[in-house]
């Protein structure tokens, strides 16, 4: 009877295991000449590029910089503002994501040749793209941590003992590795699109470049320029801890600025990019003349409009949340429309009417009291629609500075809804990681440091100011190197506000302690009986900052489990 019972059991009703589990041989399919899944493998790596927008605690990265603070006092970003970050509480930590992407690149490089590629250009392109991506992810770590372990083409097994003895490579070695990788593959990438293929024509539709966003030679050169500018920057050139080679170079070398300037110049000489005359095109398209490297599928959702808009707006029954409060410091960085800083007595700035006749980019970047948005004036005065001081509106969350962030939104002053272009549900959101304006200002910065403010420096900066709509856009002649440096740094700040540049720029320049470790301001606006406003400055935060924070801490776990792994100084 026992035998009969066991005899029953021999008949299989079900397959041995769930066949829905795909296996590696589906990916590296030796029978698929198109390499369908191998190509899809690369797509996954693209998806690990930074997504920008509200990726930090539901807010902009700059809400932890001198450009803004979170409106919500309960936001976890306040922990960093008040107490900084630490190995146990890392901030914008990109270690795991970067090494995950690097592993995927290395898995690809180890396997892609198993596929019987019909078209030999595809594997050449893909393997080169993979190496450019890997270079980018190293750059993305270097700007945070300095030198990091270079793992080459290695794919680690969890039991591999060398996994537990990895050391941080020197900063120099990392720069050299990234540059050599980019140089090695820059001519085997898929060909660049022409300016005409990128250009959007009327500015509301995308260009025709079907491979936009794929790694090309132009992108490889742009990343190289980014890396070399990082290497030339004061934080690493030289390091303040010269005996720790992973924190930068032991000594200063002015030639690093020249290399950075040359690298930027190489991109300019391609003549494949141009500044879009209308800056709003950058918000409403993703294939255009100016974008060089973009992240597709960024967290730029149709909800971005109501996330950012002042809290008094209700669009399509959804109340706005106004999550970001830009600082007075950012607002004050915008010059007058005549190009003069507001601190210049001849600028025409009127503290009682502070937003009149300003750089047009101010209106494109922040919502200030009286700005027109969706057919009404923004009211950030006390008791106004957008600062109602009422707990029942948006749970009491409202601007703490008197401003809201507008960057990335369309020019919707006269629409009744957020601009239909970028918010159309069928349009993929993008986040621009490198655009041509950045190349110009990188060139200007490097060239100014290397050779002083020569005409090519003026030309690069003025191109940005001209496009911004400053009249006149020319910088004063005869600026000293230091004056030009300040001008370039301010230009970067206002041109790239909320594009994830400022947070790392102030660290790279080692000015974070002075500009961020100090009181940040907002403004209290009271409406007078006669309809005028009184503007009273107020302190909204006094962030905690220590110079050690110029380099980000490596997560504690990495240091604890690998005794060779060194933490950045003073953490």
């Amino acid at each position: 009877m026992v035998a009969v019972a066991l005899g029953f059991s021999c008949k299989k009703t079900f397959e041995d295991h769930p066949l829905t589990n795909t296996t590696a041989d589906y990916i590296w399919d030796t029978t698929d000449p198109t390499g369908n899944y191998a190509q899809a493998w690369i797509i996954k790596i693209y998806s690990q590029l930074p997504t920008g927008y509200v990726r930090i605690n539901g807010n902009l990265l700059e809400s932890a910089s001198d450009d803004a603070v979170p409106s919500n006092p309960g936001s976890a970003t306040w922990n960093v503002i008040n107490g900084g970050y630490s190995p146990l509480n890392t901030f914008d930590d990109n270690w795991a994501n970067s090494y995950s992407a690097i592993r995927r690149v290395n898995v690809f490089l180890a396997n892609y040749k198993k596929v019987p590629w019909q078209d030999p250009t595809i594997p050449r392109w893909l393997s080169s793209e993979a190496r450019v991506l890997r270079a980018f992810f190293y750059y993305d770590m270097m700007k945070r941590y300095g030198g990091v372990p270079l793992v080459g083409d290695k794919v680690f097994d969890p039991q591999d003992p060398t996994l537990f003895t990895q050391k941080r490579s020197s900063f120099d070695a990392c720069v050299k590795y990234v540059v050599s990788e980019l140089d090695a593959v820059k001519d085997s990438l898929r060909p660049d699109a022409t300016l005409a293929q990128r250009g959007s024509g009327n500015g509301t539709t995308d260009g025709t470049d079907g491979d936009f966003g794929r790694m090309r030679k132009s992108i490889a050169l742009a990343i190289k320029a980014k890396v070399l500018l990082l290497a030339a920057s004061p934080l690493f050139n030289p390091s303040s801890t010269p005996d720790l080679d992973y924190t930068g170079y032991p000594t200063y070398d002015a030639n690093r600025w020249q290399q950075a300037a040359n690298a930027a110049k190489d991109v300019m000489n391609l003549n494949l990019f141009a500044l879009e005359a209308n800056r709003y095109i950058l918000n409403t398209t993703h294939v255009n003349k100016e974008f060089i490297l973009v992240r597709f599928g960024a967290s730029y959702q149709t909800t971005y409009g109501n996330l950012m808009s002042p809290v008094g707006y209700v669009v399509g029954n959804v109340a706005a949340q106004g999550v970001t409060s830009p600082t007075q410091e950012l607002v004050d960085a915008f010059p007058m429309k005549n190009g003069k800083a507001i601190t210049d007595p001849t600028s025409g700035y009127n503290p009682n009417n502070p937003y009149a006749n300003r750089d047009p980019r101010l209106d494109q970047t922040v919502f200030y009291n009286g700005a027109t948005w969706l057919k009404r004036a923004v009211q950030t005065y006390e008791g106004g629609l957008d600062k109602p001081n009422n707990n029942s509106v948006n749970s009491g969350v409202q601007t703490v500075t008197g401003y809201y962030a507008k960057k990335f939104l369309g020019n919707d002053a006269n629409n009744s809804s957020y601009t239909p272009v970028m918010y159309h549900p069928s349009v993929t959101p993008t986040f621009c990681l490198i655009r041509y304006a950045d190349i110009l200002l990188m060139y200007a910065e490097a060239q100014n440091e290397f050779s002083g403010p020569d005409p090519s420096v003026y030309q690069a900066v003025e191109a940005i100011r001209q496009r911004a709509g400053l009249v006149p856009y020319a910088l004063p002649v005869g600026l000293s190197q230091a004056q030009m440096r300040d001008a370039i740094r301010n230009e970067r700040r206002i041109e790239f506000a909320f594009e994830e540049q400022r947070f790392y720029d102030i660290r790279r320049w080692k000015i974070a302690k002075s500009v961020y470790g100090t009181a940040l301001h907002g403004v209290t606006i009271t409406k007078n009986a006669n309809g005028t406003f009184t503007y009273t400055p107020k302190v909204v935060a006094t962030p905690y900052y220590d110079d050690k924070m110029n380099l980000m801490p490596i997560a504690n776990n990495e240091i604890q489990v690998d005794k060779n792994m060194k933490q950045n100084p003073n953490y």
Binding site: M1, V2, A3, A5, L6, F8, S9, F14, D16, H17, P18, N21, T22, T23, A24, Y26, I27, Q39, A40, W41, I43, K44, Y46, S47, P73, G74, W78, N82, P87, L88, N89, Y99, S100, A101, I102, R103, R104, V151, F156, P158, L163, D206, D211, G213, R214, H286, V287, F296, G297, N391, S392, H424, S426, V427, N556, N557, E558, V561, D562, M565
Partner: protein, 1035 residues
Amino acid sequence: MKLIKIALLLALFLAGSNLFAQVKVSVNGRVLDEKNLALPGATIIEPANPKNAVAADINGNFRLTVSSEHATIKISAVGYVSSFIELKGRTTITVSLRPDQKGLEDVVVRAYSTQKKITATGAASTIKAAEVADIPTSSIQNTLVGRLPGFFSMQRSGQPGSSAADFYIRGQNSLNGDAQPLIIVDDIEYTYAQVSQMDVNEIESVTILKDASTTAVYGIKGANGVLIITTKRGKIGTPRINVRAESGIDKVIRFTDYSDAYTTAVLLNEAYINDSYGLATQKPLPYSAADLAAFKYGTDPYGHPNVNWQQALLNNYSTQQTYNVDISGGNPTVKYMTSLGYFTQDGILKHFAPIKAGDDVDNNYFYNRFNFRSNLDVSPTKTLNLQFDINGRFEVINNPAGIQEGSGLFKELEEFRSLAPMSTPLRFPNGSYGYSNQPGSNGFVNPIVALANGGYNRNFNNNFNIAFRGNQKLNFIAQGLEAKVVASYASNINEHRNETRGAGSMPVYNYNPVTNTYALKSGGSSQLFPYGQGIGNDAFNNTIILQGQLHYNRQFGDHNIDLLGVVNQNSYINGGNVSLNYRGISGTVNYNYKQKYILNFAVARNGNDVFNNTAKYGVFPAGSAAWNISEEKFFKKAFPFFDLFKIKGSFGTVGSDVPYINYINKAGLTSATSVIPYTVGGSNTMFGNAANEGALVNPNITWEIARKTDVGMELSMFNGKLTIDPDYFHEYRYHQIIAQGDVPLLIGQALPQKNIGITSNSGFDGDITYRTNFNNVRFAISANYSHAKNKIIYVSEAPNYPYQAQTGRQIGLTLGYHYVGFYQPSDFDASGQLKPGVPRPLTGTVQPGDLKYADLNHDGLITNADMTYLSKPNLPTDTYGLNLSVGYKGFSLQALFQGAFGYAVQINYEGSDAFNGNIRPWFTNAWTPYTAATATYPRITFNSNPNDLSGSTVSDFWFQDGKYVRLKSLELSYQIPQQWLQKLAVRSARIYVSGYDLLTFRNTGKFDIEPEIGAGQGYTYPLTANYYLGVQLGF
């Protein structure tokens, strides 16, 4: 299969020693009990020639063929002292058996088998279901706590159909939460939920197996202990019909305390004052003195409502009823036991008339259960016994659907923003309803209109089981050898039907009492939308178990040998998954010499089909030994009052595979991949799908191992009047499947789990019972105690500070901050900023009255570097029970007190957050400058300071030691004298009243909460005290 062959060979060998009878003589006889009534079913055997054996018939009569007219025969029956009779030439005898007070010959349940109590070696505890059958609770497990040493449980909810307690045997000892014991009901594996559905009337006994020697045969399923339930079977005798009818009420033990509108308003004003700290001007207060007066005196019920929503929506009691009928009986060929049961329990929700009269539905909480069981024994030949068991349970669980807060009605009641006492009046003068629209509210519509028109969610759970067993005695091969097969099928099919209507679509108004006008809620509808319906399948699963056994039991002079071999296979199919299969062989060897020296060895080799081939099968051996010192002559002489003095010990290993049911390993892959969509849509669909490497695979992953040691004693004195049964145990559990926390993230990939965790668990449990009779009074007292404390020995971690290491601590502690007091005004400078040197939290800004935490790393900041492991876990380390019973003639009274301690409850969610939550008693003792010395709650605020919230900044401030003693049950019954019944066609009758959870003594610390509700959020269905009046009739 190999084992079966060996067993058969062994059996054939042993057969050679058979003795054969020469002469044949017939004896007729009758067996009677102590009252000289017929005792059916007694076994009559000639020990010298065990082939000669029969059972007494319904009238106690038997006819036995013996080998000689001077043979000795043995008459035995369960619960009676066996009697040996020398025939001395007689051919007709009458025997009266005495009841066995000591119980040493009683049969105790073990894995796959039974043993005599006197020769049992392992650690196990048993309770007869009859002892708990009268207790008015829907779930058998709720009756076990406090009665079985080593049994730990916590009852988290009182909701009909969900009130069953989770339980653990000797606590928990797992890093991955794998602590649920294996539950076996007549060879079928059950889950917690299925056990809770069982009708106690079907159950014969409940046994828990605690140590390695009793559980090793379950191999990779036994590490958490085993709970075995056996059901009633028919006995030889005339048909007996038992009818029970019970009816009772469930009274809410206590509702959560929420303050009235006046107190709430006063505190809200206080919060606004606190929230003006550091502002140039005081925020305007939400309520004026006139408002407060209106709340206090109820002078403006529409403008200033004051509603106790719990009272408005809930009754403080509900009802439950149980009906059972069982019929049992049989003759030596066929025995039967059939049982039908119906249980119904209502909820405490009040009924409200719907807007449309024809739409009335039953939306109250309720639980209905119908169950049946038919256990049939057929013996076509003297040596063959066949069993056919069929049983099923059909449940309906109902919940109201008109709930606006996802976590349920009780969460709604807790939320200030949903249902503050001043949110909206019960009803407006014209009969319409409002919505909460006071400051800070979220616009919830009046719950009365939402519930009355919102419909219900109804779940149908159907459980159906069949088991077949065949038992063939193989005396022709070897005396004492038998073979058994078991085949069973168990299934669950759960479905639901929801009849619902969203609360947002219900017509609600704002009423202005001054102008007597009504305004429809903005965006609302004056029309009631039709009901929507949702139906669907929630669960389908089944298990098929096949089992074969060979059992050999034989006495050779003073040597007694018992061998058992089992092969089994178990296939589990859950929903759309492929089947999960187990296969194994196991066996036990029991040997005793004169019932004095006892040795036991058990081993299992089994595995599942998930682990890789190299790691598939595990071998789990265990051994135990016992010495019945009381059987020694010197001991009997010295301590004649001892019936039993047994010392025993066991050691062995048991496994568990529960934490890892993942087929990746089964495919033998070194890496798994999946294709995830990464589509970039719209006009630029450039990138298409993305392919990805799945988490890494650990091909060596395998079962967990628990190494268990147990030493204990069993003492019985004065003819069973006093028994003591203590055990000490230690369990070392290793190869636990946990995540790797000590590998660099540099690897760039999610890591597989590994068999690396180690914990230990040790403690003691035992019981002591004294029972006696004074004149006609029967008296018994029994106490039991269980202690189990675990410790983490290895968990893969890389703590930055020693105080953040889990190693060395108890399992299940919370990482959080250590509370050191409130921030006092002296901590702040004139501008309201913290003075230098006072630790400053990163979360939110603080002011006097906020919670202050220890700066463990002395950096002047309160960061997550200051977190440490706090307080106590959520399951008690100690639980105990005291059971008293007194009987006089037909009356009997029984009371059980049960208590537990050694755990902590975290106050959380709205319970820590005033004005997200309604006002709890402890909020009223908030910090103010005047109450700084005595405050037990931080300063009250309307703006939820994250520093002070249990959810976002957990600290030991929010933990309260859990401890309680309950009067768990109390029963009074009266057995009506038989002479009163003789004229009626009633054999026996009993009436009884009983109660469950009648009294609770709890730790009323700063947070006055129900001690068994685990998370302290206080929004579960309240526990109820249950009272029954029952009648039991036998025919």
